[in-house]
């Protein structure tokens, strides 16, 4: 979006004040390096050390070999694709994958457009005060933990919640949304909407206010009605943002959120609430099937990478910038 087009400072003639000698640059820049070092070190330990650990997917990893995790990694036996065979022959893995994809797809249809609709509604609010009030209220749940969000839902819609309580008092059959596996996908989507629909609308609101109002006026003068203006001016104005967020969502197709499912798996049962992340936790981490868990994790990240690259190519083909041009250094 707002990528400045000025050339990098180092290339412009006036900015070439930096000496090329390495030693002199080090003398000048060591404070900057020292400032970056703690963060770099933290990533080294908690990111770049465990990343090759993904390779225990090809090992019969035994943490008790050697005296450290690294030692155990070096001494464990390499077993080729055995862990993947175990994983792919486990029906609960496929169930988890199916659930994950179903939830992603469902939310792409029923969640993804809602922030756009909300932004359109908000953009049309004339009174700035009323608008600011609505915004402040609807952004708030984004900062609640999943534990809280689910607590609110349980207290409102659960078997002992407000809705059931009211229904019972009026002699009706209480209706428990919280423990019903067949409507679970609706429930998790409703929770996600409650938590994040307002937050998600921020980006679209900004994109809306970037659209030149004179376009609307010109179109109206030319006889375009409000729906035609929406279709031919508003939506094209939002398109880059929609495509960008769509790509990011697709790249994340295999992660639908973790805590949300972990927290509700006991209430609903695993046939509905098991997603790939909870599968790794319950079927690999708890029973200490390290190799199988790493295999599932590797499967997830490889598929995710393929998806995001594919979606980005699709975006380029549609004539959109996609995600690459944002990473200008």
């Amino acid at each position: 979006m707002a990528v400045p087009s000025s050339p990098p400072a180092a290339l412009s003639p006036g900015g070439r004040s930096y000496p090329s000698q390495w030693r002199a640059r080090l003398r000048r820049d060591w404070p900057l390096l020292a400032m970056t070092a703690p963060a770099a070190l933290l990533l080294l330990v908690f990111h770049y050390v465990p990343t090759p650990g993904n390779l225990i997917a090809f090992q019969d990893y035994n943490p008790f070999l050697g005296d450290s995790a690294l030692d155990a990694f070096l001494q464990s036996e390499w077993v080729g694709l055995a862990n993947f065979e175990t994983l792919f022959s486990d029906p609960s893995f496929w169930e988890a994958l199916r659930n994950t994809l179903a939830i992603t797809l469902f939310q792409l249809v029923f969640f993804f457009p809602l922030p756009i609709v909300l932004a359109l509604l908000l953009h049309g609010v004339a009174s700035p005060r009323w608008r600011a009030f609505i915004q402040n209220v609807i952004y708030l749940p984004h900062f609640f933990s999943w534990v809280l969000v689910i607590t609110f839902f349980v207290q409102m819609l659960g078997g002992a919640g407000l809705l059931a309580q009211e229904l019972r008092q009026h002699g009706m059959q209480p209706w428990n949304l919280i423990t019903n596996p067949s409507t679970f996908i609706v429930l998790v989507t409703a929770e996600a909407v409650w938590k994040d629909v307002g937050w998600g609308s921020i980006v679209f609101l900004a994109a809306l206010s970037a659209i030149d109002p004179s376009l609307y006026e010109a179109a109206a003068v030319d006889g375009a009605g409000r729906w035609r203006r929406l279709w031919h001016i508003t939506l094209p104005g939002l398109r880059p943002v929609i495509v960008l967020l769509g790509i990011l969502r697709l790249g994340d197709a295999l992660s639908v959120g973790f805590e949300q499912y972990l927290l509700q798996r006991d209430a609903v049962g695993q046939q509905a609430a098991e997603v790939l992340d909870t599968f790794v936790y319950y079927h690999a981490l708890l029973p200490q099937q390290w190799g199988v868990g790493a295999a599932a994790g590797l499967f997830k990240s490889v598929v995710g990478l393929v998806l995001i690259l594919g979606a980005n190519r699709l975006a380029h083909r549609l004539g959109e910038a996609g995600i690459y041009q944002t990473g200008r250094t």
Binding site: M1, P128, V147, F152, G297
Partner: protein, 327 residues
């Protein structure tokens, strides 16, 4: 770069950048422009009703939880559970909760993690963001790749777990702070902001002999309060809300943070472990109803977010947008 703008100009620019973060000045707008169709009454009514419904959907559950936490046993028994219409202000549940026991301990743990963790995270983030923000500095290209690559390749759950436990952090509060102390996303957010500060300001300070530390502290940071506030809120919310890390790494329930305790009370249905001492204070129930105590726990878990929110909320749009652009 070839014709550097004056310092005055630079200051003006930076002031303009900060002004951007304030919410747009209230401007009275007519409900429709004169070239627009006159909106139908039903349309305006429908939109307002819809937005009101959205606002109520957020506020109503919070309202009901607060009211129930302040309700007496009689009220809760009469309505049969969650209370909507307040009848009295009974603070017994809160007193019982803060009297001691698991909830007050967990609250302290969470406060400790949130304050300490946010301070650590902000320090790491701001330092690294500045270290990476000076164009053409030594090793910058490599370091940027080093940081950004974490988006593309990352350890899965199992190796991360093995490293954290391998470092002996199991059942230590450090496990809830250190492994996730740096968010590269936030780092890039702050860096982007730092790079937008006019380099003339920094170059002139450097010519006057200020060290990089001094420049960061006295020039860059005062200009970046908004972005630091937003990122600080992101970090604080992350620490306060941390649940799964506690499930993974903290088995000892004396060390549980508040989210873990809330989960065990409400979702797993264990009864709150508050201090068993009945309270002998006038006007307070000795054993307040369990539901009220549970709802009081919910309220104190929400409260920090509510308290910090008003101070940071006006910076959101810009913070989120920076993130969306650079993300």
């Amino acid at each position: 770069m070839t014709t550097p703008p004056t310092l005055v100009n630079g200051q003006l620019e930076s002031r303009a950048a900060i002004a951007l973060e304030r919410p747009e000045a209230p401007r009275a707008r007519r409900s429709h422009n004169n070239w627009e169709e006159r909106p139908l009454l039903i349309e305006r009514f429908g939109k307002t009703a819809l937005l009101t419904l959205v606002v109520l959907a957020v506020l109503f559950p919070m309202w009901s939880v607060v009211v129930t936490s302040l309700a007496s046993r009689t009220t809760i028994n009469q309505v049969g559970g969650m209370v909507v219409i307040p009848r009295e202000l009974d603070l017994s549940a809160y007193v019982t909760m803060f009297y001691g026991g698991q909830v007050s301990r967990a609250l302290w743990t969470s406060v400790l993690i949130t304050v300490g963790g946010t301070a650590l995270s902000l320090a790491l983030t701001v330092l690294a963001a500045y270290g990476l923000s000076r164009p053409g500095s030594l090793g910058q290209r490599f370091l940027l790749i080093y940081f950004l690559l974490t988006f593309l390749i990352y350890p899965s759950l199992v190796p991360s777990y093995l490293v954290v436990t391998g470092l002996g952090l199991k059942d230590s509060l450090w496990a809830l702070i250190i492994p996730g102390a740096l968010s590269v996303f936030n780092l890039m957010l702050v860096r982007t902001f730092f790079m937008g500060i006019p380099s003339e300001l920094i170059d002139s300070a450097r010519m006057d002999g200020a060290s990089e530390w001094r420049i960061l502290w006295s020039i860059v940071l005062p200009l970046s309060k908004a972005v630091v506030a937003v990122v600080g809120l992101f970090y604080a919310v992350g620490y306060w809300n941390a649940y799964f890390n506690a499930v993974l790494y903290i088995d000892d329930n004396d060390l549980w943070p508040i989210q873990r305790v809330l989960q065990s009370f409400i979702l797993a249905g264990q009864s709150p472990h508050v201090a068993g001492t009945p309270i002998n204070l006038p006007g307070l129930t000795a054993y307040p109803p369990t539901l009220a105590i549970k709802m009081a726990v919910v309220v104190v878990t929400v409260l920090p977010a509510l308290l910090v929110y008003p101070f940071v909320q006006r910076h959101f749009t810009r913070g989120v947008l920076l993130g969306a652009i650079k993300g």
